[in-house]
Structure formats: C-alpha cells, structure tokens
Symmetry: C2
Subunit: 161 residues, 2 copies
C-alpha cells in the first residue's frame, strides 16, 4: 500500500461527484441555487425577489380575492409565521391588503391592490420566460417531460391530488 501519488483534479471536468451523480435531490438542490439567483437578477428592482413565496402569493391573491394566508402558506410550504411576515412586507409595499374575515374573526382575507395587480401582470410575463430562457439548453420536449413529472410531485406534496 503506497501513498496515493495522483494529483488532485483542478478542473470541473475531472471531477466525479460520487453517489450524488445519481441522486435526484442533489440536482434539485443545486439547480435550485442557480435558477433562483438568475431569477432574482431578472426581477431586480421589482419588489419581488428572494424566495418563491412572494411571486406565488401575488398571483394567488390576484386570482382569488379574499384568499386566506394559511392556504397560501400551505401552497408555498411555509408556516404561518413566515407567511405573516411575507404579508407584512407585501402590505407595506402596497401590493396587497388584508381584512378580517366577517365569517370568522380569527381569519383574514387578502386582496390585491392596483399596484399589486400591475406587478402581477409583469410577473406573468417574466417568470415563465425566465424559466424557459434559463433551461433553454434542454430541448422543449424534455423540459415538458420534466415539468410533467415534477408537477405531479408538487401536487402530491401539497395535497392537490
């Protein structure tokens, strides 16, 4: 048994990532970093950035006037406390407003503002486009395939199916 004399690799091409090579969670986690950073750049200055929460919240409040915070929290996989701070922020930015539910005084109802609706419109353009651009090196049919499978995963995780 001799000490290994091989020089360590210096280029990404020379690296074998071990068991991570076949581990889906690894790819989800690393690609998430890259695509999230890219998205943040695209959204720069647009009051929405960092974390999937704001975008989804804006769209859902726009689509469903009166929707409750706890339902959105569920859809974006955050707890109520994180959701509360998200809403605080978006309310201060004038994107949404909250009312106490007349039916259940514990609960709130969320409504979009004019500024929020305008931003939602922009978001609907930018966000899907960013995704297509970022993954443009993956052929369309393969992208559709991945989306199809991950959509089912998401729906299963949040209990949509």
């Amino acid at each position: 048994m001799t000490k290994p004399t091989a020089k360590p690799p210096t280029r990404p091409q020379d690296i074998d990532i071990d068991v991570l090579e076949d581990t889906l969670s690894f790819y989800i986690r690393t690609i998430n970093l890259a695509v999230s950073r890219d998205l943040d750049q695209r959204l720069e200055g647009l009051e929405v950035a960092k974390g999937t929460g704001k975008i989804t919240t804006l769209l859902l409040v726009d689509d469903y006037p009166g929707i409750r915070p706890s339902l959105i929290a569920h859809m974006i996989m955050r707890d109520r406390s994180a959701m509360g701070r998200l809403i605080d922020q978006m309310e201060h930015q004038g994107l949404i407003r909250r009312e106490v539910s007349p039916e259940d005084n514990r609960a709130q109802e969320l409504y979009i503002t004019e500024a929020g609706a305008a931003l939602a419109e922009k978001i609907r353009e930018i966000v899907p486009q960013q995704s297509r651009d970022f993954f443009s090196f993956i052929p369309q049919d393969e992208q559709a395939l991945v989306i199809d499978i991950l959509r089912r995963a998401y729906r299963r995780i949040v209990g949509m199916s």
Copy 2:
C-alpha cells in the same frame, strides 16, 4: 360588470397556480424546499445539514485528497467567502483539515480526517436513500429520466461538459 360573488377557495385542490403551472423553475424551487427539509431531518445530529455544500464537500475531499477550496466552491455554486466559512466549520468539527499548498502558497489543500471519512461512509448510504424514499411515488423509470435531464443541466451549469 358585477363584483365577483364566488367564494375564495379553501382547499389546495381548488387552486390553480396560474402561469406557475407550466414553469419549471417554480417546481424546482418549491420541491427544493420540501426535499431539503426532509433531508435535514434524516441527517439530524450528523454534523452535516443545511445546504448542499457540506455533503458535497465531504465527499469530494474524501475522494480527492488535496483538492482545493475554490474548485469545490465552483462545484457547489458558492463563492470563495461562503466556501471559506464552510471549511472553517467542518475543520472545527474535525471532519477535514487544510494545508497550504507547497506548489502555490496562496492555495490550500484539503484532506479528510478519520472522523470525516467515517461520516462520508454514512452519507453515501443516507443521501441517495433519502432521495429515493422522498421521490418514491415517482416511478423508477421516470425518476431516471428526470435525473438524466437534470444531470445534463447541472453539468452544463458548472462547466463539466
């Protein structure tokens, strides 16, 4: 034009997620949250948790004695400053150690410790298993398909191909 009288949805099944429905980045970002949380639970107490960085670093240092921080930083998509703190932490935990490169005094070489090697062994079991378990509701062949496509995305992003 009358005010909408429809009641807002109260169940995930009744929600349409708008343009996010066909947006790959959305699924990557949300599923990342869920799978990362699940992985953290599985790794509880194991000195490795939060962020893909530690796991990848441990495996690469174990596989490539003398590998440089900047190369690992590149593989895990972090900058040198984040990498430095990661190494600090793992060094304090006794998982790896660093030496100054004899060839280039600016550079460092990373080496695994006994404790680190032992942990790497455990990681090689747990991490792929967690991924398989978490995504077990996706049929094997579909999982392989997604991995295949995302692997190419990852390799492209970090310049392995």
